[in-house]
């Protein structure tokens, strides 16, 4: 996808990967709607993008609430134009400190699923129709290796991300050949506030800076025409793989 003048909505855009990706997409010419709960943090990102000559619009709202979805998607579409790109990035770890699944509250698991799985589901429902009519669109769901590997204490989060991966595949099957693509992306273990909350004593030198992951994710999005819809991409490995015409630009 050529990002120039494309309209993108990014959830969880106030911090970490979401914030870094918003800056990357805007610098590649996309117009970005930034969604998160914390308005003041979002506005900082908005101002940074505008100061650099990009177009950004901060929209505060909770992706875990059904009632927020049409207001957020509606504001984005009215202020930017019809959406071309949706990044479902917002997610929660659930109750901290992380705990074994058997110790997780039923309500706690529900809250994690609501934000990490049902939230993206609702956003996709709200944006995929107009994308399908126009025959173009890309939906990226941010996953985790906890979706594939069973890590003790990461249960609620891992379950939600495994569900998200499968949802990506089902949507891809249902919209096959329509011009609307779905990707699930594992950005790797990043040096974010979220990671610090989950693993307070992690060796940060081993973690990927979110800016680095965002840069690679932007390249993946730019090369997404050659990535099969429904794919689950591990970002660190994708960089090394050759994806036809896109591999040249990745070498830079």
């Amino acid at each position: 996808m050529n990002l120039k003048d494309k309209n993108a909505l990014i959830t969880g855009a106030s911090r970490g990967l979401g914030r870094a990706l918003s800056l990357e997409l805007a610098s590649a010419g996309a117009r970005v709607a930034l969604v998160a709960r914390n308005r003041s943090e979002l506005q900082k990102t908005e101002e940074e993008i505008r100061a650099a000559g990009g177009f950004a619009q901060a929209l505060s709202g909770d992706v875990g609430h059904k009632g927020s979805v049409y207001p957020l998607v509606g504001q984005a579409a009215r202020l930017l134009g019809p959406l071309d790109l949706l990044i479902n990035n917002a997610s929660t770890l659930g109750d901290l400190p992380l705990r074994d699944l058997v110790e997780t509250d039923c309500e706690g698991l529900s809250r994690v699923l609501e934000t990490n799985l049902v939230g993206p589901f609702r956003f996709i429902k709200a944006v995929v129709g107009p994308m399908w009519i126009r025959g173009q669109g890309l939906i990226v769901n941010i996953s985790s290796d906890a979706a594939v590997e069973a890590y003790a204490t990461w249960g609620a989060y891992g379950i939600s991300k495994a569900g998200l991966d499968h949802m990506t595949r089902v949507f891809a099957a249902e919209f096959e050949g329509s011009g609307v693509s779905f990707l699930s992306v594992d950005p790797g273990e990043m040096d974010t506030q979220m990671h610090a909350e989950a693993v307070p004593d992690a060796d940060r030198s081993l973690l990927i800076p979110p800016e680095e992951a965002a840069r690679r994710l932007k390249q993946l999005i730019q090369a997404s025409d050659s990535v099969p819809s429904g794919s689950r991409i591990v970002l660190a490995q994708w960089k090394e793989a050759s994806h036809g015409p896109s591999s040249g630009q990745l070498a830079s």
Binding site: Q75, L79, P130
Partner: protein
Amino acid sequence: MALQVASWPPDEKLTAGLIHVEKEDGRLAVKTLRDLPGLLREGDLLVLNDAATLPASLRGTTGGGDPVELRLLSEIQDGTWRAVLFGAGDWRDRTEDRGPPPRLVPGDVLRFAPSFRATVSQVSDLSVRLIEIRFSARGGELLQKIYALGRPVQYSYLRAPLPLWEIQSAFASRPWAVEMPSAGASLPLSLLKEIRRCGIRLASLTQACGLSSSGDPVLDKALPLGERYEIPEETVRLIREAREINGRVIAVGTSVMRALEGSFLHHGGFLKAGMGETEFLIGPGYSPKIVQGLLTGLHEVGESHYRLAASLLPDATLREILKIAERAGLKTHEFGDLCLIL
């Protein structure tokens, strides 16, 4: 004679009643929405209105403390809107039963929240309900406040307050409408997919549907007022192609018909891509130049939608549709049953 009233969105859209009318011979048949793909031909083009719907009803008070309900009608420019003003009461009261609104003059202020106001800039000569206002916010800030405080515009025949979720079509994009473009909202995506698989093409435009009723007979007669639309290049191309291969251009909803025929008339006989505003009331005596077919709800005699359908069918056939619909127990209004004129 009166149709039954649909008082809530249906759980299952595909079982909605569909009266199929052939313009050629006036033949009528009662079907269901599920039968729609079989009634269309390869090469036909369905044109959809992809406008999403704003929560366009705002509650507030006047400077004198009188309660008001403001229903947004159309945006004139950023921050300035045309609106319809009601006094006390809410959607549960029939619009025609609602008393006259408080008498306002330019300069009066309406308050919706401590930091959100509008100043009246004009009161129409046509009706004291029709006013022009300037909000205290613009752009994204105004939109955020409308979404935070506004409720969907709805009428007294509905059962309960509508969630915003219920008034969006499956392909709703930019929120330009203040009332749901209802014919399109009755179409589930799975049915549109099947329609495409049958070789029928889909195109879209965006048309800012206004209010269908104000409760003031003088103003109601003038509705719909000018409504903004945008027709994409791709849609103009698909319409041209459909005509070349003898496919029929079928408007999904009267808003689509108004936009397409409006553009044609405005440009002196050419359909052009781009923005415009509908300026013409289409009714009996007008012969549509772009649209050959129409999918629409069931409308009672005299409604503006009914008048528009009268450009495609003689009055006797329209009355016959209503008679058959009534006999079949079909329902009117935005969540009701449908009629396909081909």
